[in-house]
């Protein structure tokens, strides 16, 4: 069984890679062992490769064209990594960075003339650089190309909101809603504009719509509390403040609302109680603000912003199949913002498309240092280590998953599979598989449980488990094959 599953793993990975990467010139596909390998191996391979799909981006990547006519300025990216002379003052660095970022964004618009994302990004870039007027020009251009972009209408709305032009802001936000009535946050923004015009009842209506779409928006609940307080509907106000606190227990403003409410109702004891909490939270907020002021470095902020542009550019070139440029740009993004997990994930994903597993693992390790509590990152390390047959490292990674996310079935399942494939720890594997099923009764988890029961000599429960897997995924032929196989053995 173990050998069959391993065979399945290897064959399935190979097939998956071939389908995903086309004629990349990557690792040679091994000869098919299907007639000689057991079904279990095939199925195990399917499982591992299913997780490989989880790691890989959904979109297929066409072969990169070595002779691509599209160019990107790389000298500037090299400058990011090389020391080319006397150190620049931060202001000078920022000026250089801004120039390069703008040039890159303009290059994107030239190289991808049909890409509305490039235009929108240019708008966002100008907004970030403090030129809202220029930003608006690009947002308008984007809408000419595609008038069905609620995100763009949302941005334009804020342009007017910042100028106290509430009617115009609302007009644009309503356009966003006409396209997508469930665009998150727009009802909230409209409510703010209505509050600016003292249209309280209408603002309440908008906020009530907002919490239908975003039921965890503590800010909307708080603002509802404020509006009902203003209208002297004190019980409603209280309920909304408390809801805001339920979602966000340290909601400073909600405590202020409750304090104010208690004063109005002459509930002195309650007022004192809420005031005490408010003061404590406010003191913490002020400390955070003060520390943030000291910690915020203008150059670092600019670099983080620029990293977004490099990341977008990397993704766009990757989608076009220009992996070399994509890698340069994504590397540039990670250099600019070394703690940007998304940038690191994008680069890791790029490496995986060309089977550079070691490089990908190295990036996931970086991510795990930035966010040690990210279970998916540890899971990826484990799965990729398995691919490299580094079982010890894989085992450690899966243990990490369980430690940081004990309620997530993935860690237990993968560790179970590792033991089963390694040919050891079958009782532990079974216990782990059972835990996985208890947490998330998915077809896949049941399949692994079947495998573990089978390796522990418990055919009866193995059959039960695989039957359950079939019930959950009736179209999955492999599960049926396993079922038949176990039945035939017994």
């Amino acid at each position: 069984m173990n050998t069959l599953i391993e065979a399945i793993c290897m064959e399935r990975c190979t097939i998956t890679e071939g389908r995903d990467t086309g004629n990349t010139g990557g690792p040679q596909q091994p000869d098919s062992h299907a007639p000689k390998k057991t079904l279990s191996v095939l199925l195990a391979g399917f499982i591992v490769c299913a997780f490989n799909c989880y790691l890989f981006q959904v979109a297929a990547f066409p072969q990169s064209d070595e002779n691509s006519q599209k160019t990107v300025t790389t000298s500037n990216l090299n400058e990011l990594n090389e020391s080319t002379g006397p150190a620049l003052k931060p202001e000078q660095e920022i000026a250089v960075l801004k120039k390069e970022e703008l040039e890159l964004a303009e290059r994107l618009m030239k190289d991808f003339p049909d890409s509305i994302n490039a235009i929108i990004h240019m708008g966002n870039l100008w907004e970030r650089h403090g030129d809202a007027t220029k930003a608006l020009e690009y947002f308008d251009k984007a809408l000419e190309q595609d008038p069905e972009r609620p995100d763009v209408y949302k941005s334009i709305g804020w342009f007017f909101m910042n100028k106290e032009q509430y009617e115009q802001a609302i007009e644009y936000w309503q356009k966003a809603l006409q396209i997508d009535p469930n665009t998150p946050g727009v009802h909230h923004d409209i409510a703010l504009a209505l509050m600016g015009q003292n249209k309280q009842s209408q603002a309440i209506g908008e906020l009530e719509k907002d919490i239908q779409i975003s039921p965890r928006s503590s800010l909307s609940y708080f603002l509802l509390g404020q509006l009902y307080l203003r209208q002297k509907e004190y019980e409603k106000a209280r309920n909304y403040y408390e809801k805001a606190i339920e979602i966000e227990p340290n909601h400073t403003n909600a405590y202020y609302g409750l304090f104010t409410l208690s004063i109005r109702l002459k509930q002195q004891d309650k007022a004192k109680e809420y005031m005490a909490v408010f003061k404590k939270l406010k003191a913490e907020d002020m400390k955070i603000l003060k520390d943030r002021n000291k910690a915020v470095d203008d150059l670092i902020q600019m670099q983080k912003g620029a990293a977004e542009t490099y990341m977008l550019a990397g993704q766009m070139y990757q989608a076009e199949g220009d992996f070399q440029k994509a890698e340069e740009l994504l590397k540039g993004a990670t250099t600019l913002d070394p703690n940007n997990i998304l940038c690191l994930e994008k680069l890791a994903s790029l490496y995986l498309t060309s089977n550079r597993i070691t490089d990908a693992i190295s990036l996931y390790r970086k991510i795990s240092e930035i966010d040690p509590k990210d279970p998916i990152c540890h899971l990826n390390i484990g799965i990729l280590s398995m691919r490299l047959k580094q079982l010890e490292k894989a085992e450690k990674a899966f243990h990490n998953v369980i430690e940081v996310a004990p309620g997530f079935s993935g860690g237990y399942r993968e560790l179970a599979q590792l033991y089963l494939r390694a040919g050891r720890g079958y009782p532990e594997a079974r216990a782990l598989a059972e835990k996985a099923v208890a947490l998330e009764p998915t077809a896949l988890n049941y399949f692994v449980l079947c495998w573990a029961c089978d390796m522990n000599g418990d055919s009866q429960n193995a059959i039960k488990a695989i039957k359950r897997a079939i019930q959950l995924e009736p179209a999955n032929l492999k599960y049926r094959n396993v079922y038949e196989h176990i039945k035939s053995k017994n």
Partner: protein, 574 residues
């Protein structure tokens, strides 16, 4: 004149030509009328008109912030100004504060504060040198009051550096007695300052607000999007304020700690003293930049308890601190209670705190529209002023950014900004009439302190604005209103001489208004030693009630309108 020219031309023209001629004349006449019409006030429909008369005044003062590009934080907050009658000749004079060279700045001529004597007819004379008030310290805040009760107004300067107490010698000159009096206050970054009779003993005590703890060694340089900018005040620790009790012999005693005010550290800016709770003593409101505002409630003996949070005056309606700048005090809704208006930073509305009575304030900015136009700007000097004398107080707001390069990294605002005029509609709302209110509202500079007084004694309130790094702006009130008015000057006898802190209630028919004499208000400045009451169409004042701080209540009845009256303590009916 046009018609007589026309007649002279008509005599020599033949009849055939006359038709053409008349046609030409008609066109010409229409053209003349058109030109006349265009030159006539394009703002004729606005109830308030403020005209720029700066050039007429002969005032040549130019403010400097003393900077050299190093972005020291006090450069952004200079300065306030004072309007007061320094020579007791019946008209209001102007005292401008000036910055001074900071580290790294070299000048040929030391900049100084400047005192301009009002000669009448909108002419002002620089009398700084002869008056001896050309302090060359770094001017930030100023207040005026007769601290020695000798019948003339003295000046206190709250500087970056040693403070100055200019005692008025009564002959048009002043002497700096700060050190002798014990109020030179060390070396701090000053802010607003006020005289008040905190303990109701008949003489004026002194409240001195401190902005923050700065030294050149602590100076912080920072950038925004790569552009050097002035640092956020949060980089510097907040400081407690000072209260000096007047000993009655020309000296003061520091009672900051024992009074309670010195136990609270804040980033003090504009302040105003007033009896918000109507209990007969003077309380103190401090607008703290980037922190909660303080409201010090007087227990009647000069001991203060900080009640800002409890009363709802510390934060805005959401519980957020504001970048508080200037503080205005007045009764905007004529309910007999003093309200506060606090200007603020960009991205925040200037805040109107309505006094609800019973020690409660409510932020009514949004429901009244009193923050209209303030969101994109940094706002500073302000006041409740009844510009059109209709019996309800409007709001004037001085605007201008503190980052002189802001357009380079944020085009949603501007360094130079025009000021704002918000008309009180009488139903608890305000509307922005800046665009319709005269050429004076079109000036775009970076304004700071503003003062409001009747500079030409014509019954309406005019405006003086100190602009950072530039010449001031003087606005003459040319509102078309023919409404009635009353100006009240107080003369204390047993209480402080100028009636500072006295609470005045004016009743005319169904219109009842209150006001108080404040020393120190708005943005770190002083104005309004006399009180202004617009009376609408009421043709007489039935009753004026004056509650003197630490003194009696006087009632004066049947007062004629459209004049300034001097009410003397003890001469009314009790």
């Amino acid at each position: 004149m046009c018609m007589s020219i026309l007649r002279a031309r008509i005599k020599t023209i033949s009849s055939a030509e006359r038709q053409d001629h008349w046609r030409n004349i008609g066109c010409w006449f229409v053209a003349v009328l058109l030109v006349l019409h265009l030159s006539v006030d394009a703002f004729a429909d606005s109830p308030i008109l403020l005209r720029d008369v700066t050039k007429e005044t002969s005032i040549t003062f130019t403010h400097t912030d003393g900077g050299s590009g190093r972005h020291y934080i006090m450069e952004t907050v200079s300065a306030g100004l004072a309007l007061f009658d320094y020579d007791n000749d019946g008209d209001v004079d102007i005292y401008f504060l000036n910055g001074a060279p900071l580290k790294g700045t070299e000048v040929d001529v030391k900049p100084k504060n400047a005192l301009y004597r009002n000669e009448g007819g909108w002419k002002f004379t620089d009398v700084t040198e002869q008056a001896g008030v050309g302090d060359s310290g770094y001017g930030l805040g100023v207040t005026v009051g007769d601290y020695d009760n000798d019948g003339d107004l003295d000046i206190y300067l709250n500087n970056y550096g040693p403070n100055v107490l200019y005692r008025n010698n009564g002959d048009g000159t002043f002497t700096d007695v700060a050190e002798k009096a014990g109020v030179d206050n060390g070396f701090h970054v000053g802010a607003g300052t006020c005289f008040l009779d905190a303990d109701k003993d008949g003489d004026l005590d002194l409240y001195v607000s401190i902005y923050l703890d700065f030294s050149y060694e602590k100076h912080v340089t920072t950038t925004t999007k790569g552009f050097p900018v002035y640092a956020n005040p949060r980089f510097y620790p907040p400081m407690p304020d000072f209260l000096y009790r007047n000993n009655g012999d020309g000296t003061f005693t520091d009672v900051s700690k024992s009074s309670g005010v010195g136990n609270h550290a804040g980033w003090g800016m504009g302040i105003v003293c007033g009896d918000y709770d109507n209990d007969g003593d003077t309380d103190v409101f401090i607008g703290n930049d980037v922190g909660e505002n303080f409201l010090f409630q007087n227990d009647g003996t000069g001991k203060f308890e900080e009640v800002g949070l409890m009363t709802g005056a510390a934060y805005d309606l959401h519980g957020d601190e504001q970048g508080s700048m200037g503080v205005g005090c007045g009764d905007y809704d004529n309910d007999g209670l003093l309200d506060f208006y606090v200007t603020s930073y960009q991205g925040q509305l200037a805040t109107l705190y309505r006094n609800l009575g019973s020690d409660m304030f409510e932020d009514v900015t949004l429901v009244t529209g009193s923050g209209t136009g303030t969101l994109p700007h940094v706002t500073w000097g302000n006041s409740f002023v009844d510009f059109d004398n209709n019996g309800i107080r409007d709001i004037f707001v001085a605007c201008g950014h503190l980052q002189d390069n802001v357009e380079k990294f944020d085009d949603t605002t501007t360094y130079f900004a025009r000021n704002l005029l918000l008309l009180n509609t009488g139903d608890g709302k305000f509307i922005d009439i800046s665009d319709q209110s005269g050429d004076g509202m079109k000036i775009k500079l970076s304004s700071r302190g503003a003062g409001f007084d009747d500079l030409d004694n014509d019954g309406d309130v005019d405006v003086v604005i100190l602009n950072s790094r530039r010449e001031p702006t003087i606005l003459r009130n040319d509102s078309p209103s023919r409404e009635h008015w009353l100006q009240v000057r107080l003369r204390g006898v047993k209480t402080n001489r100028d009636g500072i802190g006295a609470h005045v209630k004016v009743g005319a028919g169904d219109l009842t208004q209150i006001d108080e004499v404040h020393s120190g208000r708005g943005y770190q400045g002083h104005f309004g030693s006399r009180l202004y009451f617009g009376l609408g169409n009421h043709e007489k004042v039935d009753r004026v009630e004056v509650r003197w701080i630490g003194g009696p209540v006087d009632v004066f009845e049947n007062i004629a309108v459209d004049k300034m009256v001097t009410l003397i303590e003890g001469q009314g009916d009790g």
